[in-house]
């Protein structure tokens, strides 16, 4: 189980789609990158799942829809991750595939996953919530995006 995704080659000169964890003393930082803000949000969501289990063992079988709205991109990232935390907790599901659409400060998404299976997923922790610590949504020089924050576990 890694703490970063395998790097996918991006289009020439563009930020590749990838996620990774970054260290925080008590908790876990989740970071997503991509050519678009949508991709960066999708990758951050994968990093969230990876704090709990290996995303590769979560079968993207069932789809749910989510939406949220916030006054800025950074609050929107936290809202998006917290919406997933809520769905994971109340549906007892894990997710491994995400499709994010952004229109202004409104996010509509689909998330695919399956019911939590403790024997197969061996969840390491329960994520309590996404936080505003080390929260950053920013654009790289090549136009690609980064979206990150610390999640409380």
């Amino acid at each position: 189980m890694g703490s970063r995704s395998d790097l996918f080659p991006g289009r020439h000169g563009m930020t590749a789609e990838r996620w990774e964890h970054f260290p925080h003393e008590a908790d876990v930082g989740v970071r997503g990158e991509g050519a678009t803000l949508e991709q960066a949000f999708e990758q951050a969501a994968l990093a969230l799942t990876a704090a709990i289990t290996d995303p590769l063992v979560v079968i993207p079988r069932d789809m749910i829809r989510l939406s949220c709205e916030a006054p800025d991109d950074e609050l929107l990232l936290v809202d998006w991750l917290n919406a997933l935390v809520y769905e994971m907790a109340t549906r007892s599901m894990l997710f491994s595939r995400f499709e994010v659409r952004l229109e202004g400060r409104r996010l509509d998404a689909k998330a695919w996953g399956e019911a939590l299976d403790v024997g197969r997923h061996h969840p390491a922790v329960e994520v309590k919530g996404a936080t505003y610590t080390a929260l950053k949504v920013a654009r790289h020089a090549d136009g690609g995006w980064l979206a990150q924050c610390v999640v409380d576990v």
Partner: protein
């Protein structure tokens, strides 16, 4: 961190003088060794808290302080409601009223040994632990509200534990002023199946033995002797508390400019105590405290059931129950006069001294038990509040050992299976649904709890009473 930024007030007290937007000084209680090992973020966060409106005396950090959200974990700050004081959702944290309770058993190690393996398995079977675990209790809307108003009182009324437990819980087991109407449907939905569950991360249920007593008179008042076996439970308000924290943090971030509050860090999101949002949060947060108290009360009942089956001669009265992540209205002496203050303790334990009217009569002369959880495989401690602790940081002490390295780093350093085997070799049985969780919580990933406790004792925050070592650990 670099200690040059501090003025050393005493061997265990370090001062950050107020500069810039700081309204009061920052104070960290720690030995020089612990201070040097602390993340530089702790001083930054202590400084930021000192900028909040209405803060009184100082922004404090305990010896186990580490990098938190807005407030350091191990942060203590009190606010005067009549001088623009604020209440901060970030200053309480996500796991509202996460805490520790310790139960006596009346047993010695020799009583446990013959059934140790069966006891570990039976507790693991009875106590829902880890992600996705659910309890056997389902709360409808009316019962949910009754639980949020009643806390451990409600749990006792439902048949979980005894009325005698209640006086051994802060606030007598029921936080007044809880307002279930301020708790969102989403928060209640998250809690529907989670009553009586341990959770994950650093939460645990441990069977421990008393290996050393430092203050015999206080230990006698607490009913603790060397060789005694006790049970300690560390958990909080589960999904409900997390959701309350998430929702109010967001509202407070967005509303702060409207209240004229310029936040030095968004995670310090707060609202004036005398504002509708501040009052709504207090009502919801107090309901979260009751949820945590009810949850620990249910887990106590489940533990007693297991003991009564395997060790029928045991009796498990409650020694005490402390909460770590709270904001409470308390009376403290400031400038020689009593004042009503809203005291935030984020990863810090209340440590009221002898004679405090909030302590039950059986403990009033000895001071409040302060229960310090170690990491799995190391020691835990029982301390007591002292008269001096009331003068230090509003009657507060440390809460645990604090992490020494990130989960990320721990995962690269240890393998869960090896940690379990190594601890079994030392006579400590670990039961956990997650091998990776065990690796992330490996004893070596935590600071030396003994050094933290020694600093708390010598800084005058609380007095060392007894040391506990684990025998069985059910890890969430």
């Amino acid at each position: 961190m670099d200690i040059a930024q501090f003025e050393r007030k005493s061997e265990f007290e370090w001062l950050i003088k107020p500069t810039g937007r700081m309204r009061v000084p920052g104070v960290i209680f720690a030995s020089e060794v612990l201070l040097r090992e602390m993340d530089a973020k702790v001083a930054e966060q202590v400084t930021n808290v000192a900028m909040l409106p209405g803060i009184v005396e100082a922004s404090f950090a305990m010896p186990d302080a580490h990098w938190g959200y807005g407030f350091p974990i191990g942060g203590v700050a009190a606010f005067d409601p009549d001088h623009g004081g604020v209440v901060s959702a970030g200053g309480v944290g996500f796991d509202i009223s996460c805490g520790v309770r310790t139960l006596h058993t009346g047993l010695q190690l020799k009583d446990i040994e013959p059934v140790k393996m069966r006891l570990a398995d039976a507790l693991y079977h009875a106590i829902p632990a880890g992600l996705g675990s659910t309890g056997t209790i389902r709360l409808d809307a009316a019962k949910m509200d009754a639980m949020l108003r009643g806390g451990a009182h409600w749990a006792v009324e439902q048949g979980f534990g005894d009325a005698a437990d209640l006086e051994r819980i802060e606030e007598g087991g029921c936080m007044r002023g809880a307002d279930p109407a301020q708790v969102s449907e989403q928060a209640k939905q998250r809690q529907r199946d989670e009553m009586g569950t341990l959770g994950s991360g650093n939460h645990y249920l441990e069977i421990q033995r008393v290996t050393e007593v430092y203050a015999e008179d206080i230990a006698a008042a607490f009913g603790v002797k060397p060789g005694d076996v006790v049970v300690s439970i560390h958990c909080g308000s589960r999904g409900l508390g997390h959701q309350i924290g998430t929702e109010f943090l967001r509202q407070m971030v967005i509303s702060a400019p409207g209240y004229g509050i310029d936040l030095p860090d968004r995670e310090l999101a707060c609202a004036p105590i005398h504002s509708p949002l501040g009052q709504d949060y207090l009502g919801a947060m107090r309901a979260g405290i009751n949820c945590a108290l009810a949850n620990r009360q249910i887990l106590t009942h489940l533990t007693r059931q297991v003991f009564s089956q395997l060790l029928p001669q045991s009796r498990l009265p409650l020694l005490y129950d402390v909460s770590h992540n709270t904001c409470k209205l308390e009376t403290h002496t400031v400038g020689g006069r009593p004042k009503q203050l809203f005291v935030h303790r984020k990863g810090a334990t209340r440590a009221f001294g002898p004679g405090h009217p909030d302590l039950p009569s059986a403990l009033r002369q000895a001071g409040q038990p302060v229960l310090i959880g170690g990491s799995m495989g190391t020691a835990s401690y029982i301390l007591a509040g002292t008269r001096e602790s009331m003068q230090r940081a509003f009657g507060s002490a440390c809460h645990g050992s604090g992490r020494a390295m990130s989960r990320h780093q721990a995962l690269r350093s240890w393998n869960g299976r090896h940690v379990v085997d190594e601890l079994a070799g030392r006579g400590i049985l670990i039961r956990s649904p997650s091998s990776r969780g065990v690796a992330e919580e490996a004893p070596g990933a935590y600071k030396d709890v003994s050094a933290v406790v020694d600093s708390a004792d010598r800084a005058g925050l609380a007095c060392k009473v007894a040391r506990l070592e684990p025998i069985i650990c059910i890890k969430g």
